[in-house]
Symmetry: D2
Subunit: 260 residues, 4 copies
């Protein structure tokens, strides 16, 4: 098994400046720790709790900023799409096309993403058993794309709560795909704040360490210089200042788990 | 409170003939029982478990068949859409535009549906608490559409199972919207058959009676002359032959509950 | 199917006077509505959230009060036991011995209750699937007692919440036992108030009506003249003043469901 | 933080010979790895799924065997009690008195265990939120015993399944008690085999590693020379031959997590 890869960035492309600065800082940290780094940020938050929440710059402006990151820092970039027609444009810039959890069974979206030939990273729906992701993988493979990642981001657990079932990581890995653990969305408290999604940032490192101990191919974590002022996902994003410590621990655990 | 309305039809527009015959039979039953009837069938199953499952005739052919039903039997018709661009076309034929449960938080889809001016019926996501549907209702209202229905169709309960929390009906009704109970999708067993969704048809009448006793504005139930041969949702659809008995009981309970 | 029976009374034997007055009032209501009535109250709350909560008069004083009710009002009485050694004494007074949900798999307790020869009413553990109650029934039957009742009182649903799965009523009935629906414990919010169990009294009638529509042999409901002042289970008990209206509706639904 | 302690042994005291041999082997392994070792086995399985399952030698014979282990191998021993009257006798031999998960709210049992002055290890009920264990801790402390351990062993997750919420470990630790992770009961499949509890042994090491990465004070694991022939809990116990490898990994992770 290869060492884990980091997929990270702010939840939303709030501004070119935020994206640039965050990418620079994460790149510096990951080079120091020798961890491969893929930058992630969304150009559109298409399923915000509230209609009045900020959604982002949209696909064209967003991809332009991600292309800048890709070139300036020489790193792969990823983002999520929400409708099939976005796949082609996204595939021209992104190295990995991410499919949101709520949309993980939308056949047309999966097929369109697969057809780009890019890696497709599907987040497991909060409403699905890990083994049910087999049908999702088959949809992508039968569309001619074998480059599939699956991401665990928590499962519906009663109302307004998610639980991470650590068994899902080996179950999804047994589908012969690399598995990503999304440590920041996993600590969301859906509906926990009325018109926005809440979160418990203090459990991000707890769950990230646990997942690394189980065995993951990539860690996904949203980071922001000042999460409490972020336009989206603030309560569950971690602070950029806390990233290095988190990654150091995860790396040590990853090494132990993957040695001989 | 008004007596309950029936929203019913086969899951999928398998053929013009199936739709015509089923609509005719349900119309006959509901006229006999004096229950208002809205015909429902899908033109595209956009999130089938497997990529190899039948999806349906598509939006144009499907709407044509629904328009035929609407005219021939003089009844309202409803169907579900999956992408924003479908809303306009759908709104030219459908009396109620249905939003699938997995997509109940996709803002663009909700806004597009709202803009048609037609009634919008949103199925509560299996991953949402009933109160969280408030944000969905607000999305529609702020898009200028007050004609909103909410449908209960079960909540994620561990893996490969749904549970109906009967408290959700009064909770959603308190959002000042009519509430629909979907008795057939509520008995689905997601992932219960490997590459298709399973179901427990024997609990449809159990849950329909319970929901009527709680208080509903409409009952949604998929029916098919021969569910075991249906192209979609067979295990949870009820037989056309069993519909009259189910509706008679539901009607009696509905009357008791709604009399002052 | 016979019409439903009512099992009711205050949660706790707070005082002889409370028990006497409540039994008198319920008897009056049930005679008026022609509903068979079994009086229930606990002599010891053995698993209160907090060690400082009131527990009750204990088994000897408690049974004495229940014996008074039984004789004065000529009605059967029931209460719950918590340890095997209590079964014999309890069996001398009680017509039905109730086994608490947390203890529904304690073999010695079940066997001791069975050996009394009295009816044994086991509440389904919040942690058990309905079908798993089969093993409980077998434990009682193999101890020589065929007079078994099973009670649905909600299932663990995430943290600090219960959900009633209405499918459990027919599933348990298929074990060839009469099934009771406990409408007041089903609306508990475990841990919902820090050191006591919370509850949502407003859903008692909702769930009672739903269960009656599904089909039950008995309705269990805790009632109190002034629940907000009750020593135990106040938030989920209903007011004595609201009992008649609840029972009237349940009776009408019960009649519809049970007529052939 | 101190390095983790191992609590281990066969589920049931099947025979003096099994206990002796298993204790000897685990002692050898833990001395080699320098892990403190507490022996655990049950003298009575008081809540077996089926009335026909083996229950064990009973308290007197069982404690005699545990006393032998304690003396011969010079290690602490623990076992579980089910009724308050057993506490005194158990306290004469056991170093830690374990309270089963189903019984974790039974006040009399907790108080009786506390009164022995021995360490009391309470398993978190499958039906409780981690924070709700606060009331359990208070019950023990108000009974004069500050030596409390809490054990995570999985939470009810739909029917016939448990999920381990890794957040529960820090939540319970915040109650100022050492926290134990029970890796073998956490992989049980309740009711998964009709008349016995099933299990998924392959996830024991997955979850043990994850819990160690989160941070635990002790690891609890049931081991047996030949689990498939065990009288109880076979499907979830691990093989004695696999223990050393499991412990080595857990120890390495434990060291990383607890250093500075």
């Amino acid at each position: 098994h290869n060492p884990f890869v980091l997929i990270a960035g702010p939840c939303l492309i709030e501004s070119k400046q935020l994206i640039d600065e965050t990418a620079a800082t994460i790149k510096e940290i990951t080079e120091k720790l020798n961890i491969p780094f893929i930058f992630k940020a969304s150009f559109d938050k298409a399923n915000r709790s509230s209609i009045n929440s900020e959604r982002g710059p949209g696909i064209e402006k967003g991809l332009e900023i991600l292309a800048m990151v890709k070139e300036k820092y020489n790193i792969p970039v990823t983002s999520d799409i929400h409708e099939p027609h976005q796949a082609k444009l996204a595939g021209e810039v992104l190295d990995i096309i991410q499919i949101p959890a709520f949309l993980c069974r939308q056949t047309d979206l999966l097929v369109a993403a697969a057809k780009t030939g890019k890696i497709v990273n599907v987040k497991k729906g909060q409403f699905l058993a890990p083994l049910d992701m087999k049908n999702v993988v088959v949809k992508l493979r039968e569309s001619g794309n074998e480059k599939v990642l699956l991401t665990e981001r928590g499962t519906t657990f009663g109302y307004n709560n998610l639980v991470v079932d650590m068994r899902s990581l080996p179950i999804m890995r047994d589908l012969d795909v690399p598995v990503v653990f999304d440590a920041t969305h996993s600590v969301q408290i859906p509906g926990g704040q009325g018109t926005t999604t809440g979160g418990k940032r203090e459990y991000v490192s707890v769950l990230a360490r646990a997942a690394a101990a189980v065995g993951i191919d990539a860690l996904f974590t949203e980071v922001h210089p000042d999460p409490d002022q972020a336009m989206s996902d603030g309560p569950n994003m971690i602070k950029l200042d806390d990233l290095e410590e988190l990654l150091s621990k995860v790396k040590e655990i990853d090494q132990i788990v993957k040695k001989n």
